[in-house]
Amino acid sequence: MDNKVFDDIEIAPPSVVKQSARDFAAALAGSPQFKGLEQAAERFRLDPVAQQAYGAYQEKQIAWRALLMLNALSAEQKAELEDLQNAFVNQTVVQEYFKAQAEFETLCQSLGDAISESIGLNYSAACGVSCCG
């Protein structure tokens, strides 16, 4: 692209670019996938059995953090932690939360791909903070 072509492009003011980003964020927050994720998170928050299972798993993870990092759990400890993890992830509301999360991630990936393809740059990478940013 030469300078002549650039000169013909009408530059969008920063306020317009920022507003379009805000509108995009609002539309994303209003998407069925995001609402589904919020609802699934709320169902999980309000489910006492799932909360208890989560708490028990998390408590043991914290207690055995050092052993986990050193990969030094005994066979019994590994089995106990695995049982607690299974009890947590097999809760219906947890399964529904993971499904809603995967659907929202797929949507975000699809939108990110569309933007990246259109602008010819990896959008998510370009938005990251670099060593100079």
């Binding site: 692209m1 492009i9 670019v17 509108d23 539309a27 933007i115 602008i119």
Partner: protein, 47 residues
Amino acid sequence: MQTVVAPQLQEATHLLIENLLASEAFIEYQHAHARLNADSESCALLE
């Protein structure tokens, strides 16, 4: 996994793309990219 993008979100995404492409920062980037590509010495140094 297939995903359905709501029309309002499609429109917002389209407008964001248009405005990103027309933003000053992006146009400056394209200018710099074009200048870099036109400079064979610089390109050779980067290879």
